[in-house]
């Protein structure tokens, strides 16, 4: 990561992420994206450098309109940058066509969205198996993977349900199963709890943490600091740029006044 091109402010004491001997799962350099619609152009992403190592759980937070969803879409090849480069597992994606991106997304990336984006006239089982079958996985194995994931996500018995018959939280779990069915090295999540109540939010948080503990690399975009605090690195995104990039220490909670002090605002 280079800090030269963007005004990255690092507070003292926090270590910048170091690249290990292996290529980062994801690397981006100089990403720029401007939306041209009616009215003035919107500078959504204005020069972003980023590296995500294997096994990291990175949250990107910031106010709505800061461009964080656009950034995630660039990272997943759902939109193309005006300039800048992306590497997945060390492989440059600059010259990939739409079709190539679609193929690579099935192999290398799982994506979950705020509104689940399930196929409404396919059953839960078919929604989850579809990306596996499209990726050429034999049907028998696709079924086995699907069964395992649905059980894991507490959805056993819902295989034949249609998405519309499920609660929001259940639909998001189906979306998570679909995103993970091909065991992608990287999971991208765009406001995955954005349309869920607080119980659904806690559930998503718990599941993301669980997959992360098993080694899943995750990049999560959220405006919800509670969700972001499940990550071990938080990037604050403002006005199309990285304003801060902090490792959370994750130390064991101490009994010092700091934690409980939150409850005692009257100093």
């Amino acid at each position: 990561m280079s800090d030269d091109s963007t005004p990255v402010l690092r507070a003292d004491g926090a270590a910048a992420p170091k690249e290990g001997p292996r290529s980062p799962v994801l690397r981006a350099e100089g990403l720029v994206k401007t939306h041209y619609g009616e009215g003035a152009p919107a500078y959504a992403v204005r020069g972003v450098d980023l590296a995500v190592r294997q096994g990291e759980f990175v949250a990107i937070t910031g106010p709505s309109g800061a461009g964080k969803s656009t950034l995630l879409h660039l990272l997943g090849g759902l939109q193309r940058p005006d300039s800048g480069s992306i590497w997945l597992d060390g492989e440059c994606a600059d010259k990939w066509s739409e079709a190539r991106w679609a193929v690579e997304r099935r192999k290398r990336l799982g994506i979950v969205f705020q509104f689940f984006n399930l196929v409404s006239d396919l059953s839960v089982a078919d929604n989850v198996e579809l990306p596996a079958l499209l990726a050429g996985v034999p049907p028998k194995r696709a079924r086995a993977e699907r069964a395992e994931l649905l059980a894991e996500l507490g959805l056993a018995g819902k295989e034949r349900s249609m998405p519309g018959e499920l609660s929001g939280g259940e639909q998001q779990r189906v979306a998570l199963a679909r995103a993970l069915v091909n065991r992608p090295p990287l999971l991208l999540a765009d406001e995955p709890a954005g349309s869920l109540d607080s119980k659904g939010t806690r559930e998503v948080m718990r599941l993301l943490s669980r997959f992360h503990q098993r080694g899943q690399t995750i990049v999560l975009v959220t405006h919800d600091a509670r969700l972001a605090s499940a990550a071990d690195r938080v990037i604050s995104f403002f006005d199309g740029r990285i304003a801060d990039d902090a490792e959370l220490d994750g130390g064991t909670p101490s009994r010092r006044a700091g934690i409980s002090g939150v409850l005692e605002l009257r100093d």
Binding site: A225, S229, S260, L263, L265
Partner: protein, 171 residues
């Protein structure tokens, strides 16, 4: 500390160590727990004020323990406590002072201050998430306490975001 101890004694007589355990169990791990020394000191004061009375109970192989019970005056003090609403939380202003005064000093950058403060809040948020995960699922009071702390922090983080938006425009 005084009133919570009175409240615990309203259920029935207890000795100091029992009260400490009761408090811990009810409030969960997120709440700052008084040490047993503080509890004994407070009990001594409450007794002097006539709000509780202690009674020595003999123990076979150990020194006597003192079992306290609530007096009528204590019950009245407790009732008054429940009658009164508490002050609303006032925003701690030390950080605000730094933010407001930094530019004149030339010693600190406002955006750097905000970023450092955000890291602090995010780390606390993470610790609270961990506490919530470790807390007994059935202890609703303890979970509500943690959730309250998280919502306060969320508000603080939102406010930092507002500060950043406003102050970056000026740059």
């Amino acid at each position: 500390m005084r009133l919570p101890l009175l409240a615990l004694l309203a259920r029935g007589p207890a000795h100091g160590y029992e009260l400490k355990q009761d408090l811990e169990q009810t409030l969960g791990s997120a709440y700052p727990q008084p040490n047993v020394g503080q509890i004994y000191v407070t009990l001594g004061r409450l007794e002097k004020q006539g709000l509780i009375e202690g009674e020595d109970v003999e123990q076979s192989s150990r020194p006597n323990k003192k079992v306290y019970h609530l007096t009528d005056a204590g019950r009245e003090a407790l009732r008054a406590w429940f009658e009164e609403p508490e002050d609303e939380p006032r925003v701690r202003d030390e950080f605000f002072m730094k933010l407001a005064l930094a530019p004149q000093t030339g010693l600190a950058d406002q955006i750097a201050l905000i970023n450092r403060q955000r890291r602090q809040y995010l780390n606390t948020m993470r610790q609270l998430s961990k506490l919530a995960g470790a807390e007994d699922r059935d202890n609703r009071i303890a979970h509500l306490l943690i959730e309250g702390a998280m919502l306060h922090l969320q508000a603080d983080l939102d406010w930092l975001e507002r500060c950043q938006e406003e102050l970056e425009e000026l740059e």
